[in-house]
């Protein structure tokens, strides 16, 4: 009983998510129904995937600014592989995810072997990916309209009843991320490096190699996000991507992962991402004038995090 409560309280903003959800359910009759809830989940997919990957990086006390445009570059790559080159969908998807891994690998190399601060290394990658997406695509969207199998990855209904596959993908990815972070040696070292990098190194662990692995892993999620967004839009849009990184990082941080490293959880990240999309959806459903939406969004995020922190503080000390 109390163990369960303890586990829940670990996740900084869990109570707030519930509160926000309840508020909208009461405030608007259009909020709480099957199709709106699935559409909230659906709209969480891309940010959610990016946030999952970047949770690892942030727990090592790094940061990844390249996920937004990196995702776009992956989407373009997917277009090149599947539409332009004509690879079968499954192979193209695999290739795209691996390409995402490559982006992460380069970030990881720059951070751990060249010793560039993560902010700069991934900022540089953000710019490079943005440019390359335009160069490779010739600044033109690549359309997947002739690849229904690809589009179905996002909007198909494996589980029937209007439950889009994209949500399934997010769910599976979340489980994988949680298992990797909590149950594997990679996850354990992620926390160790973030807690005390020097102590970890002096414990005989090859911190550089593990960091490389962690950034590469984050890159795989970027690749998957690239697949999911291009499948949803049935096109790779080379000019987009900027801004997604901030939203994903925000989801991670709202979910209780500390930018100082060493602390964080996958469930927290998912909750953070959900808080953002529930708020966006609820405010729109309630037809709040848009210029006020941001004001309210900001205030609610502040209150949500504060309330959960206060609750946590009072219950443990």
């Amino acid at each position: 009983m109390s163990a369960v409560r303890d586990r829940l309280q670990q996740f900084l903003a869990f109570g707030s998510l519930i509160a926000i959800f309840l508020f909208f359910s009461i405030a608007s009759s259009s909020f709480l129904n099957y199709s709106n809830v699935t559409s909230i989940l659906f709209s969480t997919v891309v940010i959610g995937l990016l946030a999952l990957g970047t949770t690892f990086v942030i727990i090592t006390s790094g940061i990844d600014l390249s996920i937004g445009t990196g995702m776009t570059l992956c989407a373009v790559m997917s277009g090149v592989l599947i539409v332009n080159t004509g690879l079968p969908v499954w192979l193209g998807v695999l290739g795209t995810i691996l390409f995402g891994g490559l982006i992460g690998f380069v970030n990881g190399f720059n951070v751990s072997f060249l010793g560039i601060p993560p902010f700069i290394a991934t900022l540089a990658m953000m710019l490079v990916a943005q440019g390359l997406a335009l160069v490779i695509s010739d600044s033109t969207p690549i359309y997947f309209n002739d690849e229904p199998g690809y589009i179905a990855i996002s909007t198909g209904h494996l589980l029937g009843v209007d439950f889009p596959n994209a949500v399934l993908v997010l769910a599976v990815a979340t489980v994988i991320a949680a298992v990797v972070l909590n149950r594997t040696i990679l996850g354990r070292y992620t926390y160790s490096i973030g807690s005390n990098e020097e102590a970890t190194a002096l414990s005989g662990i090859s911190v550089r190699k593990w960091k490389l692995a962690i950034y590469t892993l984050a890159g795989l999620f970027t690749g998957l996000a690239g697949v999911m967004i291009s499948a949803r839009l049935a096109s790779a849009q080379p000019g987009t991507g900027i801004g997604y990184e901030l939203q994903a990082i925000a989801a991670v941080v709202i979910g209780g992962t500390s930018l100082a490293g060493g602390k964080g959880s996958i469930v927290g990240t998912l909750i953070g991402a959900l808080i953002i999309s529930v708020l966006n959806n609820g405010l729109q459903i309630m037809s709040i004038p848009q210029e006020w939406q941001n004001v309210i969004l900001g205030a609610v995020i502040l209150v949500a995090v504060y309330a959960d922190m206060a609750r946590k503080r009072s219950s443990t000390v």
Partner: protein, 309 residues
Amino acid sequence: DDGGETTGGASAGGGGGGGGEQPYIAIVSKGFQHQFWQAVKQGAEDEAKAKGAKITFEGPPTEQDIEQQVTMLTNAIQKKPAAIGFAALDSKASAPLMEQAKSANIPVIAFDSGVESDVPVTTAATDNKAAAAEAAKHMSELIGGKGKVALVVHDQTSRTGIERRDGFVEWMKANAPDVELLPVQYGAGDQAKSADIAKSIIQANPDLKGFYGANEGSAIGVVKGVEESGKKGITIVGFDSGKAQMDAIRSGVMAGAITQNPVGMGKQLVDSALAAINGEQQPKVIDTGFYWYDKTNIDDPKIAAVLYE
């Protein structure tokens, strides 16, 4: 080879064949990555090639980046081009730079929308407000003059955003009293975000009749949102072209859209610049026009010429 001469007013197809050193035209646009601006760039590049001129084409990442555009224009003046093409994000903010260009003896051609300054030799633009009014007119006809209509616009502060919103809203207010307009929502022209907005609107307004998307990203986003929500019978009217929008129109998901003539605008821009370099007289304003297109006329050669994929 592309037949369609520019639409609208008189154009001065300038003579300047490329003798010796090619004249250099620096073009600072409102954007770069969007398909609309890529089409303008395409038109300008083709024309420059044909007429023997050299161009560069630049624009800030979003239509909010006014300061960045001003810096781009400053840098363009530094390069001492033979002429400058400029699409102002804010018609007043760049007025001082116009003076600077003038004192450096560089003729300026405004395009897409005007500048509040008498420096530009000519302005090659379309009337976004009139175009949006045209969209409103078609929307009203399509839904029988009454019902709820929602607007998804790319942003609330850029000129194109404001004009494409206001043109639509004002026409409806004046001519279709039974059409109820929902509060305008802004999706930054991002397809995914616009789709999410569209779905929320559908959730909150099950009796929604029509959707207006004010640029390519918004329009396609609306199409996605409607498709994803599974809701039938909503009339969608869009703006700009692009393959996805044309497909949506062909398949009937979208009723129709307004397109401007970006390729023609780019071409006109280069023509006017060359004319200005040669000191030729030009009209103050050159209207590059806009068109309504739908299933019925999309393959019409005249329309097909102004659409871009």
